[in-house]
């Protein structure tokens, strides 16, 4: 579980996060949604320590991350996996080396054990046999899956995903969502997903934080969204006529 209280962050005169508080629950897909510039990415970067918040507290499983020493943070980070928007795979390494990198760095296992673990996670993300391919030789969807495999290879307790569906077709997006969701449940991880994708919101949103102008605007689950009367949230989620119709149908179904 990750709890954050009253997080504030400014860049120069511009206040990007203005007192955001929320609890991200373990074993659930916790989504941070909002329009561009609402502070989602900055919030996620504050949570993983890439940015230092100006004010507020971040608590990982009851331990204050904000007050941790750099050494303790390094240890905690070994329990954090992150899938980046552009996958952030190391160009000079092939798929196997990319996934094995955290194992090489932090474990004393021999190569056979590490390769076995790499093959396990590759199988988990449906990429068996892609070991020797380089990032430049695989598709965007495959890169995302390799990114997920690298993020989970050390069995992390916390998984962060920054826009996991960006640049992917709807079908691949759904596969990635399902994969993240299944992994979250399977390993009881605290997964925090930063997304714009409405399919993700409706399909896997267990615990949603909707942000607007650096503040928490609304929280709830994907089921709650259908019945929410928050105007800003409705405008953001059901932006098109098609989605508004879909909402009406869902509401009618729910009332039956």
């Amino acid at each position: 579980m990750i709890e954050f209280k009253n997080i504030k962050k400014s860049f120069g005169e511009k206040m990007v996060l203005n007192g955001v508080s929320h609890v991200m629950e373990s074993g659930k897909a916790n989504l941070i949604i909002g329009t561009s510039g609402s502070g989602k990415t900055v919030l996620q970067k504050c949570l993983v320590g890439l940015f230092e918040p100006d004010e507020g507290e971040i608590i990982y499983d009851g331990v204050s991350f904000t007050e941790m020493s750099e050494e303790d943070r390094k240890l905690l980070r070994q329990q954090i996996g992150m899938l980046f928007q552009g996958s952030a795979l190391f160009d000079s390494m092939n798929v196997e080396e990319n996934i094995r990198f955290p194992l090489d760095m932090f474990t004393k296992d021999n190569l056979t054990v590490k390769t076995k673990r790499v093959n396990e996670v590759l199988e988990r993300v449906n990429l068996t046999g892609s070991n020797k391919k380089f990032p430049s030789e695989i598709s965007g969807g495959m890169k995302k899956r390799v990114g997920i495999a690298r993020a989970i290879v050390l069995n992390p307790k916390f998984l962060f995903c920054d826009e996991p569906n960006s640049g992917l077709d709807p079908q691949t997006s759904m596969l990635i969502d399902k994969l993240i969701y299944d992994i979250t449940r399977e390993f009881n991880m605290t997964t925090i997903i930063n997304t714009h994708d409405m399919n993700s919101v409706m399909e896997i949103g267990d615990n949603i934080l909707y942000m607007k102008e650096g503040r928490k605007e609304w929280t709830g689950s994907s089921k709650d969204i259908i019945f929410s009367d928050n105007q800003s949230l409705n405008q953001f989620i059901f932006a098109s006529e098609f989605l508004q119709d879909a909402k009406q149908m869902r509401m009618m179904e729910a009332k039956r």
């Binding site: 954090i80 992150m82 552009g86 952030a88 190391f90 760095m105």
Partner: protein
């Protein structure tokens, strides 16, 4: 003020990379990889410019010494001293600032922009120690060796040109090389080579590591890093000569 801000950030970067490696084996592997990239990767260009540098300095020295009263051994001495004192350490390092420096800056810049550096940090790895320290150590290890090779090839190039062009016989050139040789000159050249190799690796690493934006900024920072490295090398060259000679 801008200079001071950059200098402060540069010093913090150097301080930040001095931490205990998470896994010394992987750092060693990265160090050896960088030695190969920087050292062996620059072997060709260093060899070519060194041979031509020696050849041209022989031709130009001979052209300027037209007085028949001046012994031809002077040509060999001038070629030897200019190659050892200035051409090999300074000129080669300025070329390497372009070749190696732009590579380091663009590699790190690309890693920054594509979030690979953030990925390392999230994994709990000190990205400065893992990415920058091996590059600086590899440069300090291999560039002085390249400078020594350049000295040898420069003199060989000068000797070859002198004999092939009929300016000076091989025996006269060889005896000129041995006369009035000051071993301290080689020590001084190596001191310069160590200083310059630190500049060549750390300045572009600073510019690459701190890239903000996209591919345009990578190119811009890469160019800036080469310019700043060259100017710093020339300044250091002057300071070292003033202090140590």
């Amino acid at each position: 003020m801008k200079f001071l801000a950059h200098f402060g950030k540069y010093m913090l970067m150097l301080k930040g990379m001095l931490s205990k490696p998470e896994n010394p084996k992987l750092y060693w592997k990265e160090f050896m990889h960088q030695c190969s990239e920087i050292g062996i990767g620059s072997l060709g260009i260093v060899s070519i410019i060194s041979v031509f540098m020696g050849a041209v300095s022989t031709l130009q020295t001979a052209y300027q010494i037209s007085n028949p009263l001046i012994s031809k051994v002077i040509i060999a001495q001038i070629v030897r001293d200019t190659v050892i004192l200035e051409f090999s350490p300074t000129l080669v390092c300025i070329v390497l600032a372009g070749v190696v420096g732009s590579k380091i800056a663009s590699e790190l810049g690309n890693m920054r922009v594509s979030e690979q550096i953030d990925a390392l940090e999230i994994m709990g790895i000190n990205s400065k120690t893992y990415l920058i320290l091996p590059k600086i150590l590899a440069a300090i290890t291999t560039i002085p060796l390249l400078v020594i090779l350049s000295m040898v090839l420069g003199i060989v190039g000068g000797r070859l040109t002198g004999t092939l062009a009929g300016i000076i016989s091989a025996e006269t050139f060889d005896s000129g090389l041995m006369e009035n040789f000051v071993p301290y000159n080689v020590t001084f050249a190596l001191m310069k080579a160590y200083t310059f190799s630190f500049i060549i690796s750390s300045v572009p690493a600073y510019y690459g590591y701190h890239v903000k934006g996209g591919s345009l900024e990578i190119g811009r920072n890469s160019t800036t890093s080469v310019v700043v490295s060259c100017i710093t090398i020339l300044l250091a060259d002057y300071v070292l000569a003033a202090i140590l000679l």
